[in-house]
Amino acid sequence: MTRVRLENVTKIYGRVIAVDNVTFEVESGELFTLLGPSGCGKTTTLRIIAGFEVPEHGRVYFDENDVTYLKPYHRNTAMVFQNYALWPHMTVYDNVAYGLRIRKKVLKLTEEDIKKRVREVLELVKLEGLEDRYPLQLSGGQQQRVALARALVVQPSVLLLDEPLSNLDAKLRIEMREEIKRIQKKLGITTIYVTHDQIEAMSISDRIAVMNKGKLLQYGSPREIYFRPRKLFVADFIGRSNIYVGEVTGVEDKYATVYIEELDSHIKGVMVSDEVKSRKKVSVVIRPETVKLVEKSIGKMENLFKGKIDLAMFMGEKIETRVKIANSSMIIYIPNYMVVSPGEEIVFHIPPENTIVIPEITMED
């Protein structure tokens, strides 16, 4: 299996810096996701790895080999394109067999071997029996599977997936997401996955790299990214967040009290880093699902807040409410069995251990 390493990679298109000094390493056998909004440079990064683009700065390594200037057809990566890029003039079988036929001489394959391997991979993606169809006869989900099979059959050292599920409908997307994860784990191929869908990214990845405006902001496991974002953009992009400007007032060891002017209240016992301690103004991020409703009669307890429900939306698995507090508001999720109505006053607890403090107050650096 192959490790992929990018070192200070920069790609410039005319006036735009598409990828800005990006460095990361993908472990062998890992499913690594590049996540970010459209135009953030994630697809360009993937195309650099595939060899369709060359960076103006920096290097790309597969294991210890510098592949920056290796032609795409010598890299042994296999890419699944966003629009699948199935050749409409070839049958499913011919599409899938294409890569093997190219490698026929090198791998000393006979037509029989090819047939066998194509059949195996079609079984793997559950497409047995569709060999003789043309791509345009297939449904979106089936086309997706053909594209995946075509990439997998050559046993690539790196599998590259460029928003592979974005053209599928919601239900199919979840099904295919599981499928991809299952196959990737089974084969253990180093995989780089590009998506703008954070839920897709979190559910499928071993590690995620969040990109914005060409820069790689943070990378780590889905949990790390979700619970310990280090950049305001990451906190805002992943999951839903209430973001306030706060002030660090009292520091005790690793814990601090932050004052939020908009809510006119303090949150005590929040874990903070050294960098946060040195800042005067910080961002305070509260995830809506971490907030807990409490009985109005609970009496004295730290980090209790009172607010009036402004808007309540029943979402099925939860109720999303916007609660007015002081001069501001906060989005809070409430269990779906409760019945709330606008104007109602509620009391809730913000757990300090789930409150995130970030040492920047704007999205810019």
Binding site: F52, E56, Y73, A85, I102
Partner: protein, 755 residues
């Protein structure tokens, strides 16, 4: 955004006021001032516009407005010629009226495009080492891409740019006693010369009545001779305008209204597109002759007969031949407008003519003018009508006759004239191309297919369609119908009558039985076949390079070069090739050892090598493939565009080499595009006129069909007129078969789309 300055907003109204005042000052003072003082008025217009611009005039309005950007582009060309030709009076006042608008357009262009680029370069200062930059560029190119890129560019440089440059160079060749190198141009642009005659000769008028034998009167419409250069320009502008209006009307009715027989109308409206060089103009001459059918009608109605000849005849023949080009472009523009655009306007209360003028026409305009500019170029370079109507006072005729009269020696003045023609055509073309490019966002819409807006016609509408539109369409199809009647001897070669009893296929038999005639047919078919193969090869190389590389300067230049032959009049190519092949053998002569044999080998390509040694066919084939290259390239390019780049990348990614991708994945996908491009090329090549009768005329046993047809119609003598008409029918058949193949076999739209 308009800025508040002093006490009010500056708006476009101020621009018009500035123009109006400047124009008025000029008009009032013109009789009393010299051109040195006049410069002050020009400066006034420019400074005024500059001040308006500085005080925050919204220059973007000009860019984004469909009509104003068009006006600005036409205005530049107009003003240029007003100045060069030293035309005064109201036309010059009009130029001054446009001056502030043009100034603001230029300033806006600089502010929008040039300054930001400079600024951003300074701001970013992204330093990429040269070595790395070269490496990055080279990485993208595989050997086959290199071959395509260099091969394609080389062909265009050698056979397109060099000849045209040589022609330009020869335009500056002056007699030894003249010091001024612009001598040839001055001869053309000097007012009062035979090129520019601002006051037409006394007694000349657009039309006059002449008495005929037997007391009848004859209305002769000739057109006024303003000199060769102005005639060509006026003729081209008139033909383009009338063809455009006619094309828009016919296209709109056929695209948007439903009535019985509409499909038939559509087919009939395409008939003039069948190119039958010379014969169709000849038929028009017969139709509008003093004893033709039109005269019979006017005689019965008004008591006088009519004859249209000279410049008026040329204009008429060109309008009838070229208006379907606008019609086709306008038609596809109208059906490509997202109906929701018009529905929204209706929804807000707009209807009828208002709706058409405010929404429909502006949205369709880019597509329409793309066709109009082709008409303009075709009209400038057309030889068929001027030769048949024996009108020498046109640029095209002058260049042509320069080839025929002084055998072997083409005068430098002709080269200068060729350059002026090229300038007119290319300026118009590039201007329209950039205009259409700017406007292409107009068609961005929600995508998907939509139902075309169609109306049923009421009784009044039906009456108009059947009583006005049908006769009009039938009328414009007359020349082609006439060609067939002439070929079968139903119409006699002179005079006019319909003699069904004398119909005979004997002229068709002669086409193939008479070796002196069949030679021309064989030549055309042979040349067209070879030229198409060459053109298609070059087209594939260029189209692939252009669609798949994104190199600064090189890619866009190649793209423009591959399209520009559309804008280069055939006569310019003929002149360029004349000079090119004149010089070619001598270039190699000084080289030691191989020089002498090469000279001997290439000498037969020189037009002065003698009537029996000159190998015109090689030059014709090269000229054909370069001239008609854009039509082939466009189709092939459309094919490459259809193939999403991911389809290629997927194959590269799986380990296929570039050549394997091109020939294994891409070519099979776009095979039909390549073939239909080749067929379109074949049509245009087999009907080519300009180089055929000039270069071909230098060696008439190697000349193609169109040369033979020209020679039969030139003097209006009746010798081989009907054999040539039969040839015309043969050409119609070739075109018909080719179009049917494209439409029925390849299921592609056959369109004569410009730009």
């Amino acid at each position: 955004m308009p800025r508040r300055t002093g006490f009010r907003h500056v708006s476009l109204k101020d621009l018009y006021i500035a123009g109006l005042v400047t124009a008025l000052i000029y008009y009032l003072l013109a009789p009393y001032i010299e051109w040195t003082t006049e410069i002050l008025i020009w400066v006034l217009g420019i400074v005024w516009a500059f001040l308006l611009f500085k005080s925050g005039l919204d220059y973007r309005r000009i860019l984004f407005s469909f009509s104003m950007s068009f006006l600005a582009i036409i205005g530049f060309i107009y003003t240029f010629f007003i100045l060069v030709l030293q035309i005064r009076g109201i036309p010059r006042a009009l130029a001054l009226f446009l001056l502030p608008l043009l100034t603001v357009a230029v300033l806006g262009y600089f502010k929008q495009n040039i300054i930001p680029t400079i600024k951003i370069k300074r701001l970013y200062k992204i330093h990429v080492p040269l070595k790395r930059r070269i490496k990055t560029t080279l990485y993208k190119l595989d050997p086959i891409m290199w071959f395509f890129l260099i091969g394609g560019s080389l062909v265009l440089i050698v056979f397109l740019i060099t000849p045209v440059l040589l022609m330009l160079l020869n335009a500056f060749v002056v007699p030894p006693y003249v010091k001024d190198i612009f001598y040839n141009f001055e001869r053309i642009f000097r007012p009062g010369s035979r090129y520019v005659r601002l006051t037409p000769p006394p007694g000349s008028s657009l039309y006059r009545f002449l008495p005929l034998k037997g007391g009848e009167k004859l209305l002769v419409i000739t057109g006024v001779n303003y000199g060769i250069l102005l005639n060509s320009m006026i003729n081209a502008v008139v033909v383009t305008s009338v063809a455009t209006v006619l094309g828009i009307i016919v296209a709109f009715i056929l695209a948007r209204y439903d009535f019985p027989g509409r499909t038939l109308f559509r087919i009939l409206a395409m008939i003039p597109l069948f190119v039958t060089p010379f014969v169709n103009a000849y038929v028009i001459r017969i139709l509008f002759g003093p004893y033709g059918p039109i005269s019979a009608i006017t005689d019965a109605l008004f008591g006088w007969r009519i004859e249209i000849k000279s410049l008026a005849g040329v204009a008429l023949a060109q309008i009838m031949a070229f208006y379907p080009i606008v019609y086709l472009n306008a038609y596809s523009s109208f059906i490509n407008i997202d109906p929701s655009m018009e529905e929204q306007a209706e929804n807000l209360g707009s209807k009828g003519l208002k709706l058409f003028l405010t929404v429909t026409l502006p949205l369709a305009l880019p597509g329409i003018v793309a066709g109009s500019i082709l008409v303009f170029i075709f009209s400038l370079e057309d030889l068929g009508a001027p030769i048949v109507f024996q009108e020498p006072n046109l640029m095209s005729y002058q260049i042509y006759s320069g080839f025929t009269t002084e055998y072997g020696i083409v005068s430098p003045e002709l080269a200068a004239l060729g350059f002026v023609m090229l300038f007119l055509a290319a300026m118009g073309f590039l201007a329209i191309r950039s205009y259409v490019g700017m406007r292409s966002y107009a068609m961005i819409s929600r995508g998907g297919r939509w139902v075309i807006r169609e109306r049923r016609l009421g009784p009044l509408g039906l009456a108009i369609v059947y009583l006005v539109l049908l006769p009009l369409i039938l009328f414009t199809a007359m020349p082609q119908i006439g060609v067939i009647l002439l070929a079968f001897n139903i119409i006699p070669p002179t005079g006019f009558s319909l003699q069904w009893d004398k119909a005979t296929p004997q002229y068709f038999v002669r086409l193939f039985s008479d070796p002196a005639v069949f030679r021309y047919i064989r030549n055309t078919l042979m040349y067209a076949t070879i030229a198409v193969v060459l053109a298609t090869t070059v087209a594939i190389m260029i189209a692939y390079s252009v669609s798949r590389t994104k190199m600064k300067v090189i890619t866009p230049t190649l793209d423009t070069l591959a399209t520009i032959p559309l804008a280069i009049p055939g006569l310019v190519i003929a002149l360029g090739y004349y000079y090119f092949f004149l010089a070619l053998p001598n270039v190699f002569k000084p080289i030691p050892v191989i020089g002498e044999p090469l000279y001997k080998l290439l000498f037969p390509l020189s037009p002065v090598s003698g009537p029996n040694t000159f190998q015109a066919w090689i030059i014709l084939i090269i000229a054909y493939s370069i001239r008609k290259l854009p039509f082939v390239t466009r189709s092939v390019y459309a094919g490459f565009q259809q193939v999403h780049h991911a389809l290629e990348e997927a194959a590269l990614n799986l380990g296929a080499s570039r050549s394997r991708v091109i020939f294994g994945v891409v070519m099979p996908l776009i095979f039909t595009y390549i073939l239909s491009g080749a067929i379109v090329g074949f049509i245009y090549i087999s009907t080519e006129v300009s180089t055929s009768i000039t270069i071909g005329g230098l060696r008439d046993d190697q000349a193609p069909m169109t040369f033979y047809m020209m020679s039969q119609y030139k003097g209006g003598t009746a010798t081989g007129v009907q054999v040539a008409a039969a040839m015309g029918v043969l050409l119609i058949l070739i075109q018909l078969i080719a179009i049917l193949i494209i439409v029925l076999v390849f299921k592609q739209r056959y369109a004569f789309i410009g730009v």
